[in-house]
């Protein structure tokens, strides 16, 4: 049933220079599933490992990054693909754009700055299935972007002539050309203004509702998850600390880190004094022992320093990795 299954994934960065070697444990034992017809949010701050997770899932593993153990399996109902061992050629031919597409922060990585937008569309489709009739293709593209609420004249523009928000929406249009089953969006709206962000995320949501595919949305902005995601997963220092449906995460968070993350969000109209957590996210080349959150956790126990908490099921699609809830006792 799951279209993407990640099991116990460990991916590290290893560098060596002048006798000093460092290993950054960016993703250290991550397991989760993605199902059809949902928006799955991945939340976490800088150096929590979510960008590395995306790189690994999308087959973008280059030195000094390497996946040391675990599995990432993409299942489209007809075949299963091991994303860790897939060849770049197969990735390019069969998976990218067709089954799995990407929307990254800063669309310039996908839009060619010296080509008009329509040409980028042509380039991508051409490399996959060839274009017989340019005119018919253009009409197809126009229909597609109109449906997404974009004016047709963007096709004749160069990327630098469009605003940041417009470029991101074009990037989403590109990503949905072939109606992929999975769209991975990595901080797609982080650099955008709040009104533009709203427009871009609405577009993404509308696409998901219409085509019933899966969107993996990675962003540190919890408020965005609250309004867009169906389920949310919180990462901290390379591990998952909690995963639950959005309502549950916000109404009844379990893990101390999640509670703090949500509690510290300022809201218009609320004048309560909010506090910050002491300390800062750990250095992943030398992470804390046991539960990686224990140095900053207000409820830390001796056990937290020694043992890594297991991921425990505590109810409807709700999982937590915290010694406070081990064995179902709170």
């Amino acid at each position: 049933m799951a279209i993407l299954s990640v099991r116990d994934l460990r991916a590290y960065y290893r560098t060596e220079a002048y006798g000093i070697s460092r290993t950054v444990h960016a993703v250290d034992g991550v397991s989760f599933d993605l199902f059809p017809n949902e928006i799955y949010g991945v939340a976490g701050e800088s150096s929590c490992g979510k960008s590395t997770l995306i790189k690994v899932i999308s087959g973008n593993i280059k030195p000094p990054l390497k996946a040391y153990s675990g599995s990432v399996v993409y299942d489209n109902g007809l075949q299963k693909v091991d994303m860790l061992t897939i060849s770049p050629e197969e990735m390019r031919r069969n998976i990218r754009w067709k089954e799995i597409s990407y929307v990254m922060q800063g669309s310039m990585s996908v839009l060619n700055p010296v080509r008009k937008i329509i040409k980028t569309f042509e380039d991508i489709v051409d490399s996959h299935q060839g274009i017989q009739n340019k005119k018919a293709f253009r009409e197809q593209v126009e229909a597609h972007i109109n449906r997404l609420g974009l004016p047709t004249d963007v096709l004749d523009a160069y990327p630098h002539q469009l605003s940041g928000g417009m470029r991101q929406r074009v990037a989403i249009a590109l990503a949905t050309m072939f109606q992929p089953r999975l769209i991975i969006a990595d901080e797609p709206t982080t650099a955008l203004d709040v009104v533009v962000q709203r427009g871009v995320l609405q577009m993404l949501k509308e696409i998901q509702v219409e085509s019933k595919n899966t969107v993996l949305l990675v962003t540190h902005d919890m408020a965005v998850h609250a309004n867009v995601a169906d389920r949310v997963m919180i990462m901290y220092a390379g591990r998952i600390v909690e995963e639950a449906p959005t309502k549950t995460i916000f109404k009844a968070p379990c893990h101390p880190y999640t509670k703090h993350l949500i509690g510290s969000l300022p809201m218009i109209g609320v004048r309560l004094i909010k506090t910050s957590l002491p300390g800062s996210p750990p250095n992943l080349s030398n992470p804390p022992s046991g539960c990686r959150f224990h140095p900053r956790c207000p409820m830390a126990m001796e056990r937290c320093r020694m043992e890594i908490p297991e991921m425990v099921d505590i109810g409807e699609q709700h999982r937590v990795a915290c010694h406070l809830v081990n064995g179902g006792t709170r």
Binding site: E45, Q161, G165, V194, R198, G199, A223, L265, M267, I268
Partner: protein
């Protein structure tokens, strides 16, 4: 005009940039006829809010003396900033007005130890004369922001977190004992779990140390959390300004309303309101050069006159709104209105 009752007195400043060559080229009005004051009596936190292209960055450069207005004047403690020409005068000015920048990892030279800047500041402004004095001054400043010299000593920027660096940046700004700190998006690049720390610091600076803060941001939530007053900018104009409780809780200008509505809330009561389909505006340059109100292209309440003439600044209680919708309401003052002080 006697103006030395205020710390900052910005009078009808405009900044016009010319992009392109001698022949042809485009005129860009980055800041258009903006006026406001910052009180000398009471320390306050004044937010200048706006999206990208709103002119807030240009305005902050005006306040730091980095840039001179094309028309209008900026007064600090009664003196026109353009009068400061010699190095001594400029130095005396920046002693009182210190910045905090957006990107913590660019604020300090990656090849220098962070404490070097604090010591430099202490010596350069005559706050300390010997190494011993400077060490005390630097340590004290760091303690004001919740750190200490011991923690920070001998560290390079990449050894510290974004949150720590921003705090050190604030500590550095505090050393010359400024009257105003101008913080340009100080927490937008800091992790969510560390933001409150820094933002709370600004509150403490206002309440305990009586330092005013001009907070420039696009994040309305943190603006609400700490500000006393707020001014909302759109394409170079202040469209609404006043006490934050009023402007952000019951915004009057249609743009302020759109802005507030677009901020995603962590516990949305009405999820559908945010999801309501909106159309995004035309490109920035087009909006800048529009005649009349800059929001006319996407305003749900637009009228004919909005496309033709710039709306006047209308004072309603302690607020100023730049919108034709309110011409009937409160008395309309002439354009040299200043925001009434809290």
């Amino acid at each position: 005009m006697m103006v030395d009752g205020n710390l900052f007195d910005v009078q009808r400043v405009s900044v016009v940039f010319h992009i392109g060559g001698l022949l042809g080229g485009v005129k860009l009005v980055a800041v258009n006829d903006v006026s406001f004051t910052l009180s000398r009596e009471n320390a306050e936190i004044f937010t200048i809010a706006g999206e990208s292209g709103s002119g807030k960055t240009t305005l902050s450069r005006l306040l730091l003396g980095d840039l001179h207005p094309t028309t209008g004047k900026v007064f600090f403690e009664g003196r026109d900033l353009t009068e400061f020409r010699s190095r001594t005068e400029l130095k005396a000015f920046i002693k009182k007005v210190q910045p905090v920048f957006q990107n913590p990892f660019e604020t300090f030279n990656p090849l220098r130890r962070v404490e070097a800047y604090l010591f430099d500041t202490a010596f350069n402004f005559g706050v300390a004369h010997t190494m011993k004095e400077a060490t005390m001054v630097v340590d004290h400043a760091l303690q004001q922001v919740g750190l200490s010299l011991v923690e920070v000593s001998k560290r390079y920027p990449h050894e510290l977190s974004g949150g720590q660096i921003q705090r050190i940046s604030i500590a550095r700004a505090l050393i010359p004992r400024p009257r105003v700190i101008l913080a340009d998006e100080p927490v937008s690049m800091v992790d969510a779990s560390l933001r409150m720390e820094i933002v709370n610091l600004f509150r403490k600076l206002r309440d305990e140390d009586k330092v005013s803060v001009i907070y420039i941001t696009h994040d309305l939530a943190t603006a609400y959390y700490i500000s006393d007053r707020i001014a909302i900018m759109l394409r170079g104009n202040i469209v609404e300004a006043g006490p934050v409780e009023e402007v952000l809780v019951t915004p009057m200008h249609p743009y302020s309303q759109l802005l507030k509505e677009s901020v995603p809330e962590p516990e949305p009561e009405d999820k559908d309101a945010w999801a309501k389909h909106i159309s995004l505006g035309v490109t920035e340059v087009k909006e800048y050069n529009q005649l009349g109100c800059k929001f006319a292209g996407r305003c749900p309440h637009v009228m004919d006159i909005c496309h033709q003439v710039d709306p006047p600044d209308i004072q309603i209680g302690q607020r100023i709104v730049k919108c034709y919708l309110y011409t009937n309401q409160a008395e309309e003052r002439t354009r040299s209105t200043k925001i009434a002080e809290v």
